[in-house]
């Protein structure tokens, strides 16, 4: 009886403590699962730009000239640096992105990136940025296992682990095992 009460207390308190971390890892987990389809941390915007003075001469495109072009064609952007990654291509670094300009045609793209409000910090933490956070996330991972185990024994009776809970738990165990076998047998 005492053991069950202790089990409930552990489950309840760990649930409270790690409520927010579960949201962080859950949210960023979904976002990072689809990393091939989008940038989960930044909103990337591409806008065309056209320099009417083109063709431009690489020799005359010094820092002040590039700043001058920026003021004319992208006045909202702040210059950081520039260089020529390849012949005929000017890359200008701006405060929140970069601009690639074909100096012959004058056509270019302004690429700006802005941190996603919730996902950037969530993904930042998910990537285990620093060693202290690694310790915190280790504690969280262990606590998740405790939460899972203690969760099995919260209820007694027909909905507990001896009844309906057993079937649901078995289903949950089978799902990853089935996938694992399918992958090992290279079914897909």
């Amino acid at each position: 009886m005492k053991l069950r009460k202790l089990n409930r207390s552990i489950h309840r308190d760990l649930g409270y403590i790690f409520f927010f971390m579960t949201l962080i890892y859950g949210l960023s987990g979904v976002a990072l699962n689809h990393i091939d389809d989008w940038n989960p941390s930044y909103i990337i915007r591409n806008n065309p730009i056209s320099i009417s003075e083109a063709p431009l001469s690489k020799e005359t495109l010094n820092r002040s000239e590039v700043i001058s072009l920026l003021k004319t064609y992208a006045p909202q952007e702040t210059y950081k640096n520039h260089y020529f990654p390849e012949d005929g291509l000017l890359k200008v670094f701006i405060e929140d992105g970069n601009i690639n300009i074909d100096i012959k045609s004058g056509e270019g793209i302004v690429e700006t990136s802005k941190r996603r409000l919730l996902l950037h910090p969530a993904n930042y933490l998910h990537y285990n940025p620093k060693k202290w956070w690694t310790w915190v996330s280790d504690i969280y991972a262990i606590s998740l296992m405790l939460l899972a185990v203690t969760g099995l024994f919260i209820l007694k009776g027909k909905n507990g682990i001896a009844g309906r809970g057993a079937w649901l738990t078995a289903t949950g165990i089978l799902i990853p095992i089935v996938f694992l076998l399918l992958y090992y047998w290279e079914v897909f």
């Binding site: 950081k80 990654p85 620093k130």
Partner: protein
């Protein structure tokens, strides 16, 4: 009570998003060599396992995870890969275009046939690897797989061409970094490279930093 909890949660989120433009304050007391990107690129083997201080313009930060950035010297054809140590954690994308001062240890990875064979197995199992890391996020699986296979083939060719049966990849594992004070556009100052070297990036070389970092 709820307000307090939400306040603390918001503070944690803000702190996490603040990035890492600070420098580690510890000093190791070890001898550190101050070098330019060009000097290191000219002979990276010479600096292996040495702690160096290097500055350059960040021309790329891996936006997925920020575990790598590349800094270039006077010739944008080549750039040095910088990885963060545990204390730095990650590099933020906002560093692109910034002039940074990096302190770190030059690392070498020797790639031979056995290494590539092992790597091929890892790639087949879907693991990412530093030596073959690419920026293929956003492409379809098949395309990414073909790209990785092409990289493996290129690595084998490179080994076959080498006299010693291996080739090396070099990078710097940063223990400290800081963003140099940035000249504001309005001031119109010319960019000054470390040690007053002229470094205007206007030489017009083709630039490919390569996904593998600098290789010899």
């Amino acid at each position: 009570m709820i307000r307090k909890i939400l306040g603390v949660a918001a503070l944690i989120a803000i702190l996490a998003s603040c990035g890492n433009k600070t420098q580690k304050e510890e000093t190791t007391g070890k001898e550190v060599t101050k070098v330019t990107v060009d000097e290191v690129l000219a002979d990276m083997q010479k600096y292996v396992d040495q702690e160096v201080i290097i500055s350059g313009i960040v021309n790329h930060v891996c936006s997925h995870g920020g575990k790598r950035m590349f800094i270039m010297g006077s010739n944008p054809d080549a750039a040095i890969k910088i990885t963060p140590d545990d204390a730095i954690g990650v590099f933020e994308k906002e560093l692109e275009g910034s002039d940074v001062l990096v302190t770190g240890i030059v690392k070498e990875l020797r790639i031979d046939e056995a290494y590539v064979d092992n790597l091929e197995k890892e790639v087949a199992e879907g693991a990412d690897n530093e030596a073959i890391h690419d920026h293929s996020a956003g492409t379809h699986d098949e395309e990414a797989e073909n790209e990785k296979q092409a990289q493996l083939d290129a690595m084998r060719n490179k080994i076959a061409e080498s006299e010693q049966g291996y080739y090396s990849q070099f990078w710097i594992e940063a223990s400290e970094f800081e963003v140099k004070d940035h000249d504001h556009a309005e001031e119109g100052h010319e960019h000054e490279h470390m040690e007053d070297e002229d470094h205007s990036h206007e030489e017009g070389h083709d630039h490919e930093h390569g996904e593998e970092g600098h290789t010899h």
